[in-house]
């Protein structure tokens, strides 16, 4: 079937549509992050991140994105923001911090950008 028969192939700059392709690519990363709902898993990750990433079978690119604290790279590697938010929570990062990290702004600059759209 021609792909253009579906409603998922338009280019929206700065936006990754989390579809089946990304869901397949990011499954291990997202599963690890989903399991951060449990405090004992957050503690285990903090104690030994490399061993915890190995346990979930993350690809090397995914591990490097986490080592680099690079949110855009995590998304490129199939990470879904709702699960990545649980990883961000481990580092006490707010969604404004995460927004700033992705757009090259400080937290305060990102908050000012949000308010500028009122």
């Amino acid at each position: 079937m021609a792909q253009h028969s579906h409603d998922y192939h338009i280019d929206i700059p700065g936006t990754t549509v989390f579809d089946g392709r990304m869901a397949m690519k990011g499954y291990a990363l997202n599963k690890m992050c989903y399991d951060f709902n449990r405090a004992e898993n957050r503690e285990a990750f903090k104690a030994d991140p490399e061993a915890w990433m190995e346990k979930y079978g993350l690809r090397e690119e995914q591990r490097q994105a986490i080592r680099d604290n690079d949110i855009l790279a995590m998304i490129e590697e199939g990470g879904n923001i709702y699960y990545l938010a649980k990883l961000a929570g481990i580092f006490k990062l707010s969604v404004q911090d995460v927004g700033g990290m992705q757009t090259g702004r400080t937290r305060e600059e990102f908050q000012a950008f949000l308010a500028s759209q009122a």
Partner: protein
């Protein structure tokens, strides 16, 4: 037979839960947002619904990508919020209404909606924050209605179309109005409005589009079904697709509604926050 009193929408931003927990309602940042709720509280006190159907989207607590239902309906005796990984306080359980849940499930499957039924369902901020906003102290509010949670997938594409969401609401309304009990029901649609958390476009908000949606959800929801899902991502932001919950709520109310109150404020956290109370024609 049961009667649908009306529908209420609100954003369900996690930070709101923290603000409530810390009592920040009169803080200058939060006041323009919380000012949208006293009229809702008065309406609820006047009408005292027996049941609340809470339409929200799970964000990675109740469901993961291993099994992702497009439409899921809770059918449990109670619903608990659980640790989402970043420290919202845990609350006593919200009372459920399993006999109403099963009535809805029976009716909707007969109407050819394929439902995932859930006898256990952990509820996240998408469900809890609106309850806290509308019934202060929830679930420990003396007027707290028994709840039926309905979750729609907006985590992973393909998500439902806007038309499907509105049609889901219409079938839900039919189900509720055929429930054989003299009961009053309120329907919540939570989430939105425009926001985007991820990517280089993080922080995107679209006031013009939100205003278009707010106008039409009241008077001409059918017009909104012409918006494609990719157009919704483009104009509302990647997480602004939560507007589907508003469409589902609206469908349940029937054609004629009266707008009781509306509030819109930019920004709360990363989001354009919207609140709307629509009353059904008696």
């Amino acid at each position: 037979m049961a009667q649908i009193l009306g529908g209420i929408t609100t954003s369900h931003i996690p930070a709101v839960g923290n603000a409530i927990d810390k009592g920040l309602q009169d803080d200058p940042y939060w006041k323009p947002f919380f000012d949208g709720y006293p009229k809702v509280h008065a309406w609820i006190r006047e009408h005292k619904p027996d049941y609340v159907v809470n339409i929200y989207n799970d964000h990675g607590l109740g469901f993961f990508l291993d099994r992702m239902p497009t439409f899921a309906i809770g059918a449990a005796h109670e619903y608990r919020n659980e640790d989402e990984g970043w420290g919202l306080p845990s609350l006593p359980p919200f009372p459920g209404a399993p006999e109403l849940s099963w009535h809805i499930i029976e009716s909707m499957v007969e109407d050819e909606f394929d439902i995932t039924s859930c006898q256990e369902l952990a509820v996240d901020h998408g469900f809890v924050v609106p309850m806290q906003l509308f019934w202060p102290g929830a679930p420990n509010n003396p007027d707290m209605p028994r709840a039926v949670p309905i979750s729609a997938n907006t985590v992973q594409h393909p998500i439902p179309t806007l038309k499907r969401a509105l049609d889901f609401g219409k079938a839900l309304g039919k189900a509720l109005r055929s429930f054989p009990e003299e009961a009053k029901v309120v329907v919540l649609g939570t989430g939105g409005l425009s926001h985007q958390l991820d990517g280089q476009r993080a922080g995107f908000i679209n006031k013009e589009f939100d205003q278009y949606c707010l106008e039409n959800i009241v008077s001409d929801p059918e017009a909104l079904t012409k918006i494609s899902r990719m157009e919704l991502v483009e104009k509302a932001g990647a997480q602004g697709t939560e507007f589907l919950m508003w469409m589902m709520m609206r469908g349940a109310l029937g054609d004629e509604v009266t707008e009781i109150t509306r509030n819109y404020h930019i920004p709360i956290s990363n989001t354009a926050a919207g609140t709307l109370l629509l009353e059904c024609a008696a």
